[in-house]
Every structure is written in C-alpha cells, then in structure tokens.
C-alpha cells in the first residue's frame, strides 16, 4: 500500500518537473524574446534568493501577513459568533438573514472604493477588506453547521439533563466544527487573494504592492517570485486549517476513516 502511494506521489510531481524543464529550455533557447518577458526558471530562483537575502520579500510578506491574520481573525471570529447566534435563535436569523443576503453577494474587493473614502488609505483599510471577505462565508458555514446538527442529538442531550449552554458547547459546536472549518479553510486562501488585489490597487506596501512595482519596472522575475510566494502562502494557510480541523475532530473522524479502510 505504502509503495503504491509513494509511486503515486512520484508521478504527481512529473508534470511539474516537465513544466520547469520546458520553461528553462524554452526561455534559454530564445523562444520568448530574450529574458525580458520570460526569464528562465533558474534566474527566477536566483532572484528569489536575492530578495530573501536583502529582506525585501520578508518585509512585504510580513506586512501582508499581519493584515491577513488580523482581518481574518476578527472577521472569522465575528462570523462564528454571529453564526452561532443566528443558528441557535430563529428570531435573530429571521431579522438578520435579509440584510446579510443583500450584502453577501458583493465581492469584498468591491467595497474598496467606499472604504477608501470612509477609512482612508491606512492599515485599517486592508484589515476591513479582509474582515468583510471572511465574515460572510464563515457566518453562513457556521449557520449551516449548527442547523445541520441532527435534532435527535439535541433531544437526547436535553433528556439526559444537559443545560442549554452545555448542549451548545458539548453537542452542537463539536458537531458543527467540520462545516465551520470548511468555511475557515476556503476563506483563509481567499483572504490572500483579496489582500493582494487591495494592495495592488490602493495600498503602497505588502506583497501586492511589490508585484505592482515589479510590473512597472518590467521585472517579470520578481513578479514570478511574488506569485510563487503567494501560492505557497495560500497553500500553507489552507493546510494549517486542515491540520487544526483534523486535530480537533480526528478522534471521531480519523478512527472512522481507519476503520473503513480496514473493512
């Protein structure tokens, strides 16, 4: 089984290796007009190394990271809290559902012009954008998770003497976790996409701003380094949430998976 799996992993990197090789050979053989529009892979790696050494990449990534983490933490916490309230209280759900249904379809980046006027161009702007980006999806996933809990579990807990708070903390929330984490995982990646867009348009620092500077200097190598960095960050963020989700739910989902595999 393990041998088969490692064989699969090996095969999965073959397309990547082929792409890198084609890129290197194509760029060096002059298929593109010089190194201008498509620098070879080795040049991009070298440039990435310089950017790391001189601290420029770290500086911009760190700025974006702080914005994403702050905005995402506040936005998703608010989304979870509001989702719990709306999921548990029908009155709240009925009151807020129409309002949120109107606001949810607006793309987070669409708020940028109005927020620039209200907040101004400062550190609060990207945080507000990330807040909006993460609040709504996490809110709806939390509501779905809570409402999806089988009513029999709640009745069983009630008959066994559990208080409302205990039912919420020991039955409803644990069972809603997979759905909540689906929202968090998807939005963790989305937050990076949105921050880059915001930084490209309005904010002079961060990885999006670095991208725009590189573009204006026609430094395709730096642009590719930034895109690669973004890809890695999105991937790491999504994996991080997957790991936390598994950590919290593996006791009942992982064992089931193992048991199913044994069958």
């Amino acid at each position: 089984m393990n041998k088969r799996r490692s064989l699969f992993s090996l095969w999965s990197i073959v397309p990547l290796l082929v792409l890198v090789a084609a890129w290197e050979i194509g760029a060096r053989s002059g298929a593109s007009s010089g190194h201008f529009f498509l620098p070879p892979f080795s040049v991009v790696v070298q440039q990435g190394y310089y950017l790391i050494l001189n601290g420029m990449l770290a500086e911009h990534v760190l700025k974006s990271l702080v914005r994403v983490v702050t905005g995402f933490t506040i936005g998703s916490s608010a989304g979870i809290a509001m989702g719990i309230a709306m999921g548990c209280k029908e009155t709240l759900n009925r009151s807020f559902h129409p309002l949120f249904s109107l606001l949810y379809p607006i793309p987070a980046i669409g708020w940028l012009p109005i927020l620039m006027l209200w907040i101004g161009i400062n550190e609060l702007l990207p945080i507000a954008i990330i807040f909006i980006c993460s609040f709504f999806p996490v809110l709806y996933n939390t509501i779905t998770g809570i409402r999806g809990v089988n009513a029999d579990y709640i009745k069983a807990a009630e008959v066994l003497g559990a208080s409302k708070t205990r039912i919420l903390t020991t039955v409803i929330l644990p069972l809603a976790l997979p759905s909540i984490f689906t929202g968090l995982r998807l939005e963790a990646g989305m937050a990076w996409r949105v921050i880059v867009a915001a930084e490209m348009v309005a904010i002079p620092t961060g990885i999006g701003a670095l991208l725009m500077k590189a573009q204006s200097l026609i430094r395709i190598d730096i642009v590719i380094v930034c895109l690669g960095m973004l890809s890695v960050l999105c991937f790491l963020f999504e994996r991080l949430f997957l790991m936390v989700e598994l950590k919290l739910t593996h006791t009942w989902t992982e064992e089931c998976r193992t048991y199913t595999l044994k069958q």
Partner: protein, 350 residues
Amino acid sequence: MPDIHLKAVTNHVLDDVTLTVNDKELLVLLGPTGAGKTTLLNAIAGLVPHEGSVFFDDVAIDALPPGRRAIGYLFQQLALFPHLNVEANIAYGLRSNGTSEREIQQRVDELLHLMRIEHLAHRYSKTLSGGEKQRVALARALAICPRVLLLDEPLSSTDMRFSKHFRMEFRRLQKQLAITTLYVTHDFSEAEEMGDRVAVMHQGRVEQVGTYQEIFFTPRTKGVSTFIGEPNIFDCDYVRPLGHDFMEVGVKGIPIVIHHHENRVSKIAIQPSHIMVYNQSPPGPDINTLRGRVVEVLSEDFLLRLTVQVGEAAFLVELPRDVGEEMEVAVGKELFLVLRLRWIKAFTGG
C-alpha cells in the same frame, strides 16, 4: 418506580389520550406509522408542547424540563453522539447533572459490564455494529438511573436474529431493574413477545389497552382489527386433548388440531395471510386441510382477499394477486385450505 398516567393529552398529533402505565410494567405502544406513538413518548419526555397532563405517581410533571424528569429515552435512530466515545456517551447524562468523576467512572464501568460492552469503551459510534449501538444507547439511557424508560422502535434498523436476541435480553433486564417502561413498535409479533400489556394507537388515539391475547381475539375497533390483520377468529365448540400439548378443537363442526399448553381453549384465530391455498388436495396428512368453495373475491392493489366457505365456517384468505390469477381463483371455485399449526393462536379467556 412511578406509574405513568396521561390525562387528556392532546396536541397536533395526539387526540385526547388517556393512558396509565403501571409501576414496573412494560407497556407496548403499538400502531401503524403516523399513529402518534413517538409524539406520545415525546409528550411524556417533555419534548413537545401539549395540552392535558402527564403524571408520575399522581404528581403532574408538565412544568418539569425534560432533563429533570429522570427519563431514559432510547431514540429510534439511537442518537449516540458521534464525537464522543462509548464511555463518554454513557457518562454524558451523569456529567450533565454534576456527578463526581469518581462516581461517574464507577457507574460507567458498572453499565459497561451489565451490557457486556467493556471492550467497546473507547470506540466511537460509527465503528460499532447495529447491535453494539443498541447496547451503548441503552447503557446511556440507564446511566442516569431513570424512573421511566421510553424506547422508540429500537429494533427498526436491526436484523431479525439480533432483534429476537435483544428482545429477550431487554425483557430480562427490564424485569431485573423493575423499571416502568413504554416500548413503541409497529410490529404485532414484537408486541406479543415484549409486553405485559399492549396499547394500540390509531390516528392519535389510544383505541384499546389489554393483554396481547385480549387485543388479538377481541379487537374493539375497526382500526385495531385492521392493524392486527383482520384475523379469522372462531369460537371452539369442544376441546379434546391429544397429548403432548396437542389438542383437537371443534369449529362449527370442523375438527382442527392445535398446539397449546393449556387444556382450556375458548377461541382460535389465524391470520388470512397465514392460510395456505391449493387447487388440489395437497400431499401429506390430512390434518388441518379443509375443502371449501370461494364465495367472494375482493381485489386490492397487490392482493386478492377471498372468502372461502368450509361447511358453516367462512374463512378469510389472502393471496398475492399474481398467485390468485395463476390459480384462476373465482367465485364458486373449489379450493383446499391448509392451516399450519404454528400460525394458529389459541385464546384461553372467557
């Protein structure tokens, strides 16, 4: 343990239900789907709003929240918490009412032993078989030392062999713990095996309460009679013991052999679907083989319901429609009926 008394309990499903479950009794609540059985259990547990009153030992408990009624409830789908292991599931009720961890461990160990599931203590519900889940759910319901036990069709999703085993074991356990129990089922044979008494529900009302035999042989309403399958019921003219618990009874002059452990038999009954029908005299001994003539044929969706006149007795017989058509059953046709010993029920009451 308390007796349970329901007085004019009414809601969107239930219609003026008045019922008493005696102390330590196992009462089977029997009825077709949609009769209101689960709603009645939920009313007792305090999970649905209703008019009227529920009493435990003459004390109205309507104002008590479900968690303070000391009820053990086995839900139809069992509702074991999937995120908790077996041990934590059993301990859930005890942790909710603030029992000390030492006592919880002691009680959980006791129940794991009683239900013979010690080896499952650290497993999660999705890795358990249907039978194991039943035991865990029962252990969880018993953990809080309930005064009343409510079971909502606990065997609806298990195979026949396990069901039989569970019924026997549960009956023994119920007697041992002497706990007032309401057991919901739609299966009449399950009711026969389980209950001290049976209450038949139909369209939100309790239509008849009595022993299984009373209900089977003297159904009081059309709803009850239809639900139990409209059996052929005959008064016995005479009873002649044949030895080894076999006896011959006379039904309107027809001798029928039955197997029964008491010499007193006043009525016998057989379900229309349990009578075998042949065009010609079947091979084998002639015992309980009757020759008769079809006097009425009623056609239902997939069934033919025949009335076959045998001497002075009219037998109602059910046949699958395709079988009836193949046998070319029609009014006036001569048929042979075989009453198998195992399907004939005998009533000893007056």
